[in-house]
Amino acid sequence: MSIGDLLKGLFSDDAPPRPRPASAAAAGNVEPVLNDLTERLNKMLWNRRAILSGNIHLLGLSRIKEHVGSDWPRIAERAQDIAHKAIQRVCTPDDVFTRYDELSYLVIFANLTKDQAQLRCVEIAEDIARRLLGDNFVDEAAEVSTGVFETDGSLIFNAISKQDLIKKLTGQLSSRASVQKGSGGSEEEETEPSFDQFQMDKTKALASLRVLYQPMCNLRHQVVANYFAVATATNVFGATIWDTAVRAEFAAVLSSTEFDVFVARNVMRDLGGHMAKGIRILMGWPVHFDTLATRANREAYFEVCREIPETIRQLLVLELDGLPEGVPNSRLLELTTVMKSFCRTIIVRVPADFRRFEVFQGCNLGAVGFSLSGVSATDAQRISLMNKFVEAASRAHLKAYVHGLSSRAQVLAAVTAGFEWIDGVAVEKPVQAPGQMHRFSVEDLYRDLEPLSG
């Protein structure tokens, strides 16, 4: 029996799950959580991604709770919020995570090995501890257990410590170094491997960065006439990451401006090449609020924008992302006015639950939108979110778009919700180079239905 079958059995109605969590506190009513997880795991299985034993991790907050003591009730909600965001920040659209109980989260990394995923969980735990308690408690905060299947199909969580993990990983690196030495490696290759070897630096980050183009469908005209630049990269663990996850991943080594300049230069080069061939398509690219927030950053970025020929500006859509909560209308007006001189139109990406659309009054925006791939929810909740988003945007007389649709059902829901533009792998997959404008129809989505699995 495959692990996929075990998992399906584990979470099916006739074989209720029997996880034995690391902490006693995790033994509460977990049924709703498991139902949610089941739904998302099914989706993962449906997409034929392999789920391997050792890929399910339980990330706990109980050590942080113990450390905080009687203050815990006061900060519990904030801790959970921070934990949720910390996990969300490092998860790719392929990963799955869900709250397990008050003090723990289940995380499944689709593309990481067991060791890589454990290390990633330790990093998340440390990030949470740092944000809540500062640096002093970081070393003790990690509380990660990894689920492995027993022969009867039950799932057991075994706790791991950061020290053991580092020992194991450095052991692996030592072995590799020895192998290299044995095969004629130089003296430099014999240097003691360390935890730092898993850290990203700017050179590695830039070398790993690429820009792909996500076809975007204009639903009113049922045509793909717009390609949206999406950054993609390989992180230190070898996993492919996308979009905002790339920015977050490299935040420590690449400033927001450096990141945005990299994307902008790629788009300009590719769009210039297309223009030279006589192809005219609209091209979108993101720019983060942080890049435009300070005069120095803004100037560095606009210097690049000034290189954009007028003919290309008419085909550019700039997407402003990362707006801080509570940014005033006057600030937005100021930014969008300057941005407008470099592009055809400006769109703004906001969180899925954003409703303060009145702040965009007078900004002359082309649309507002969000990315569904960053939303941790069931498909039904995602559909509901899409409906509410369009309703709220319409009330403010704004057109709406949504990135990251990953299933036909989501596409259909987005179409009927009234979005003007949609994209995502369920619409069309990202491509290396933008193509010609072409028709899009709902019928196309249903051509060549793959056989049902499971």
Partner: protein, 125 residues
């Protein structure tokens, strides 16, 4: 007695349709999930399928296409709100994909019963 497979993710609508059909003498098997519905349909006999179109994970258009791939003749009533859109005629697509009768939500009990009997009569001819 006609046996109806009802596929509807919304609890309230599912119950309302189920009760309306049961009161009219139909045997109704309600399912809240498209995949479960297709599995049920492959193992049991039904006279009719009543399906919603906008559903999570697998929408009703895909359900219709899959049923038409397997059980060519079974009548299908497709129902949808899909009201806010100006970009797409959801029920038109349902019909093009093989729905026997379509029904715009919200509908009255009589409209539902009329759609169901119309679909059954059409299939019998």
């Amino acid at each position: 007695m006609a046996r109806v497979l009802l596929i509807e993710d919304d609890h309230l609508v599912r119950n309302t349709v189920k009760i309306t059909l049961q009161k009219a003498g139909y045997e109704v098997v309600p399912v809240d999930d498209s995949r479960k519905a297709l599995a049920t349909l492959s193992t049991a006999d039904f006279s009719l399928v009543v399906t919603d179109i906008l559903m999570p994970e697998m929408d009703g258009l895909e359900v219709i296409l899959r049923i038409r791939g397997e059980k060519q003749g079974i009548p299908i009533v497709a129902m949808s709100g899909g009201g806010r859109t100006r970009n797409m005629d959801v029920l038109g697509h349902a019909q093009a994909f093989g729905a026997t009768v379509t029904l715009q939500k919200p509908f009255l009990p009589d409209e539902l019963l009329s759609a169901v009997s119309q679909a059954l009569v059409g299939a019998a001819q």
